[in-house]
Symmetry: C2
DNA sequence: GAATGATTTTCGTATTATGAAAACATGTCT
DNA sequence: AGACATGTTTTCATAATACGAAAATCATTC
């Protein structure tokens, strides 16, 4: 069913579909299944997979089943721009995680969603798990609302238009005026809450991270079971956000030049 | 000059070459450069890049320059098999890092090299940096020598045949009998040293990690400036290696069945 | 040991990617 | 400003390329 719109080059679309299909399974997958899953002819799938193997995007185990290859890891960790943020954020995130004993996430905006690009999880039995690379709509996350707020009212309207503000829980904001107000208020306060808006039982606190050019470059957030979340964290989190922004070259006041 | 041998599908080879080219640059790159770098016609490069963008393997920034896309991260972190090891190893590695105050690496074997798949770096100004996804030949690394030892003498001979045991520093072992002896001894001791064999000034201690089926699944190592390396770490490291193996389902004695 | 089911290879064909060149941006210099 | 230079994007006729049906090979089951 993964019928993506064509992009100009058939093989690349097909190769991408195959990679996705492989990624969907927790264990190595057979050619048969992959061909069925992607709707490709087996011989075509086989040929493309052979090429992907040659390029180390895919590996074949001893049983002849396919799994993702190390090249993806190699390339994945080199994401430009983000690689810096991730590396710099890591220690700060670990510090927060130890302080709160909860999951700390780093996210960036991509289109109408936030994408999780790094996380620090505590050593507790129960904690919020966010898969790196997974996505969530802007209007149901703390960081997302801040990003919307920073983008301005017109952008929020456009976003609402495009997405129709679907509800994820009964707490999700699905009403444009309320969303605009919430985003503006969050931005003004410097932090945002997510009160079980994306998932029941989970609450977040988020802040924005700015880069050297003064643009929003990422979001930093804590996710915890709602009953364990503490308002005291807000201060620490805002502090960490500022710290991280400074580390990325952000200058608080648009200082009057000098080289 | 990155002239890879053809794999059966031209476009995929070319797309891979483009991704590599992008990854080589720390900042977003222009089409011109990418075309030159890969030897592709600009219009071809442009078309392939457009397709890669459509599939989110590549992004274009506001200046029209290309950088790697988030899909790579998404897929990269889902590497099957390794994902478990990485996740389980993370806390153990962080513990070791805090204990030693040095970089701790997790590696797996791929062909004739070890690949770094996870690391924990200390908060010190000077520490050993290993890029995730980067590679090093087996015979100049601690973990690599253990893996060779575990593979047996015949495999070491074959490895030597294939690679010719190139020297990386004046301490590298480039002589087959010595390598065989070193590997066997390391395996017997349960740990291996790398005394500035891969890079001057850097010393490592490595141990192996076994999975549930009793196979070598990864290697765990500390890398430090040679002057700071301590023999006392060996014990802790071996301990951690055993712990991690157990966590992965390894059973010390090949217990006599029972389901 | 035949039969079933999956993987791999082959090969003629038409679809698909190709790249030269032309249009379009963008920035630079006088 | 205007015109040049440089880089990007689109077009389009062409042939090289990827395609997939079917045959051959391999593995597994009954």
């Amino acid at each position: 069913m993964t019928q993506n719109s064509p992009s100009g080059i058939q093989v690349i679309d097909r190769a991408a579909a195959l990679l996705d299909a492989i990624a969907r399974y927790p264990d190595p997958v057979s050619l048969k299944i992959l061909a069925a899953e992607t709707g490709l002819n087996v011989s075509t799938a086989h040929r493309i997979l052979a090429s992907l193997i040659h390029n180390r995007f895919v590996e074949k185990d001893s049983a002849g089943h396919y799994r993702l290859g190390l090249r993806l890891l190699q390339l994945g960790v080199r994401l430009h721009g983000n690689v810096d943020v991730r590396a710099i954020a890591r220690p700060i995130m670990e510090d927060l995680r130890d302080r709160f004993g909860e999951t700390v996430n780093l996210t960036i905006r991509e289109g109408d969603a936030v994408v999780y690009i790094e996380k620090a999880t505590p050593n507790r039995m129960i904690h919020v798990q966010q898969l790196i690379g997974s996505r969530a709509p802007l209007h149901v996350t703390a960081v997302g609302k801040l990003m919307l707020g920073a983008a301005g009212e017109a952008a929020i309207r456009a976003y609402a238009e495009r997405t129709n503000l679907p509800a994820y829980t009964r707490n999700s904001i699905t009403d444009l005026p309320r969303l605009i107000a919430a985003c503006a208020q969050s931005l003004a306060l410097g932090y945002a809450l997510d009160d079980e808006e994306a998932e029941m039982d989970v609450g977040c606190i988020g802040v924005l991270v700015y880069d050297g050019t003064g643009n929003v470059s990422a979001g930093l957030s804590v996710s915890a079971p709602i009953l364990r979340r503490r308002a005291e964290w807000i201060e620490d989190l805002m502090e960490a956000g500022k710290r991280l922004s400074l580390d990325l070259g952000y200058r608080p006041h648009p200082g009057p030049s000098a080289t």
